[in-house]
């Protein structure tokens, strides 16, 4: 899990998708709003300015006509045209100019230079009598209208700054950007929240799934509070029930089969024993057959016992019969039983009175299985030793066989796993691979661990270590020594 990049997580992806989506949406809406608002505001302002310009143009024409008729020269030199123009500007801050006889410019504001920079405006007035356009006056966007006054052979220009409008628009733009940014952030936050909310059932499912993986089939997933997920919840629960029942059935089957096998086994054991007693009076062939029968009956019996033991462990029905005993005495008895004269026991003298708390018969089975395993695959156990390590005791069984390859060291404690790499050692009577699996189960039931390594003294061979926790009563009761 930790190796996955955070952005590959579902939650991160949903959050990013929401953020990008809301960013695009809010900026598109904001942009469109701004463009529309700008067009409308400009249109309104310009049409108002145009109306004003018409009115001004009419009044100028009337005034100028009168003034020119009253005594001014045709070139207007006797008339103060600039004063007329300045008078028109008084109310709204607009700037005026007049082009008389296509040659002489008048303007109290000297904007004729700017206007001359826009010949298309001047040409437009000649062609259509009226023309308007947005022009740039000293860095400010302004609206210019030109109106042809044919009766006095002049063109009236009025320029009005749009700076106010531009500042309104830039405020609007700032507001819209702010709102869009907030909306994007809110979108991302909502995405994160809803992803988290959407994923909550998933995390509940994964909790339930791990509990089930650990064998808890009573685990129920409660998603009833969510109508969309209730169906998933009930499907999940049904699946758990079905799997649980199936496993229970198989467990029960294994248990029943093993139980059922015991009755015929009992008859067989008793009958074969009678045959064995009478073996000497039978022909050679029959004797051989009885030997085979007896040997494999033994093997069969052990297999059934192991299977029963394992099915009981799976059903959680095993109860350890813990008692305290001297480890050295226990191991000596195990070694006597194993009838392996080459077996040596090593321990430090200080630990000769070590008392352990364990199920003696199960621990004996652990030791017997390890010793038998060494016989089958390691040419026989060479030594048993034990050592106190912190609060545990490690009981070690070593052989000088080929050892266990590193990749098989975990698998070897699984059911029916046999060391596949050790060719030739799999004799016909190698038995079934339940021995080490039972070792693992028993040791785990005792709260201990079992593992296998290479021998640490440099010789080749396997080293099986059973580690058991030491109870508080690790020191020998003095009365036992007598």
């Amino acid at each position: 899990m930790s190796r996955q990049r955070w952005w590959r997580g579902l939650r991160a992806r949903v959050t990013v998708a929401y953020a990008v989506g809301s960013l695009l949406l809010s900026f598109t809406v904001a942009g469109a709003t701004f463009a529309l608002a700008r067009a409308q505001l400009l249109e309104a302002a310009e049409s108002q300015h145009r109306e004003q310009a018409y009115t001004n143009a009419k009044s100028l024409r009337a005034n100028l006509q009168t003034a020119l008729e009253e005594g001014g020269s045709a070139d207007g030199s006797q008339v103060d045209i600039n004063a007329f123009l300045a008078n028109l500007s008084r109310f709204n801050g607009s700037q005026q100019a007049l082009l008389l006889n296509e040659s002489t410019w008048y303007s109290p504001f000297t904007i004729q230079d700017q206007l001359q920079g826009y010949p298309q405006l001047i040409d437009g007035t000649r062609r259509w009598s009226v023309a308007d356009m947005r022009i740039d006056v000293a860095g400010t966007v302004s609206y210019a209208v030109g109106i042809r006054l044919d009766s006095i052979n002049a063109t009236y220009f009025e320029v009005r700054s749009l700076a106010d409008l531009e500042s309104t628009l830039s405020s609007l733009r700032a507001i819209l950007i702010g709102v869009a940014t907030l909306a994007s952030g809110a979108g991302a936050a909502f995405g994160y929240y809803s992803a988290r909310r959407a994923l909550t059932p998933l995390s509940r499912i994964s909790t339930a799934a791990s509990a089930i993986a650990d064998g808890d089939f009573t685990m129920k997933l409660d998603l009833e509070d969510d109508r969309d997920l209730a169906l998933l919840g009930s499907a999940f629960n049904n699946m758990v029930d079905a799997v649980g029942h199936r496993i229970e059935r198989e467990r029960q089957f294994t248990s029943d089969v093993s139980h059922e096998l015991r009755s015929p086994l009992m008859t067989l054991t008793a009958s074969v024993e009678v045959l064995e007693r009478r073996k000497d009076s039978l022909p050679d062939v029959a004797q051989q057959a009885i030997e085979l029968l007896s040997h494999d009956l033994d093997r069969f019996q052990r297999l059934v016992q192991d299977l029963l033991e394992i099915s009981r462990m799976e059903a959680g029905a095993v109860q350890l019969q813990i008692s305290q005993f001297l480890l050295i005495e226990f191991l000596e008895n195990v070694m006597t039983q194993s009838r392996n004269p080459g077996l040596l026991m090593n321990f430090s003298p200080g630990d000769s009175d070590l008392v352990v708390s364990a199920d003696k018969r199960r621990l004996a089975q652990v030791m017997t299985n390890l010793i038998e395993n060494a016989e089958k695959y390691g040419g026989g156990a060479t030594g048993i030793s034990y050592e106190v390590v912190d609060d545990d005791v490690q009981i070690v069984v070593e052989d000088n066989g080929p050892g266990v390859p590193a990749e098989e060291r975990d698998r070897i404690f699984e059911r029916f796993a046999r060391m596949g790499g050790v060719a030739g050692n799999r004799a016909a009577d190698a038995g079934f691979g339940l021995g080490l699996s039972l070792v693992g189960e028993h040791v785990r039931l005792h709260g201990g661990q079992v593992w296998v390594t290479d021998r640490i003294d440099g010789q080749h061979g396997a080293r099986f270590v059973v580690q058991l926790p030491l109870g508080p009563d690790r020191a020998l009761h003095e009365e036992m020594a007598s």
């Binding site: 139980h259 054991t269 305290q324 005495e329 009365e479 036992m480």
Partner: protein, 227 residues
């Protein structure tokens, strides 16, 4: 006439095979297929050892065991399905002296029977003199225990256990030692045999079995007879 063994087992083939094998070992065998038949047979002609399968149709092995115990201290061996269930303790508490798990080897059963008969018949005289410990008076040769002059009814196994503990009053006997001396088991015998028999012994010899005065537990390592 040889030693008579009553075998109570409902599975006919098992019963036949076990009978065959036990007869091969030299015992006289009487069979019973049900608990009811077993009790009738036992009343008609008491056996020397009784082998009872716990799983019986009708009245079960525990009940058969309790019924026999009411009138007899005959050695009883239970046959149980498994060794780690409560069945074993329940069987021992019902009065069984020992148990075997199915499938068992008849040779093993014979060894158990011999160990039991040895403790019944061949209790070597002289290992323990007549002993008095507190209110208890143990007479090994007569197979009798008196408390305040009153005879206590112990089974043979309980008696042997008490005699064993009384052979060295104050000494702690581990379960392993008691298993070997009383039942003839090796080191890996089931310690519950000792525990349950000690409990039964206490109900008979102790005035207050919950806080024993004579048969004392020693820190989980064993038992001793407090002088």
């Amino acid at each position: 006439m040889g030693t008579k063994i009553l075998t109570v087992e409902d599975d006919e083939r098992i019963r036949q095979a076990v009978t065959l094998a036990l007869e091969e070992e030299g015992w006289d065998v009487v069979e019973a297929a049900t608990g009811e038949r077993a009790l009738e047979t036992f009343i008609a002609s008491p056996a020397d050892v009784v082998l009872i399968d716990i799983m019986l149709p009708g009245i079960d092995g525990f009940e058969v065991c309790r019924s026999i115990r009411r009138t007899s201290d005959v050695p009883i061996i239970m046959v149980t399905a498994r060794s780690d269930t409560h069945d074993v303790v329940a069987g021992l508490e019902a009065g069984a002296d020992d148990y075997l798990t199915k499938p068992f080897a008849p040779k093993e059963l014979s060894a158990r029977i011999r160990a039991m008969l040895r403790r019944v018949r061949a209790h070597e005289p002289g290992t323990l003199e007549r002993t008095k410990i507190g209110e208890l008076e143990i007479s090994p040769d007569e197979g009798m225990v008196l408390r305040n002059g009153e005879e206590l009814h112990l089974t043979k196994t309980e008696f042997k256990l008490l005699v064993e503990l009384a052979s060295q009053p104050g000494k702690v006997f581990s379960r392993e030692v008691l298993l070997e001396r009383v039942w003839g088991y090796d080191y890996f015998g089931d310690g519950r045999l000792v525990d349950v028999h000690i409990r039964r012994l206490r109900t008979k010899v102790e005035a207050d079995p919950a806080s024993p005065r004579y048969v004392v537990t020693s820190r989980g390592l064993g038992y001793k007879l407090q002088p």
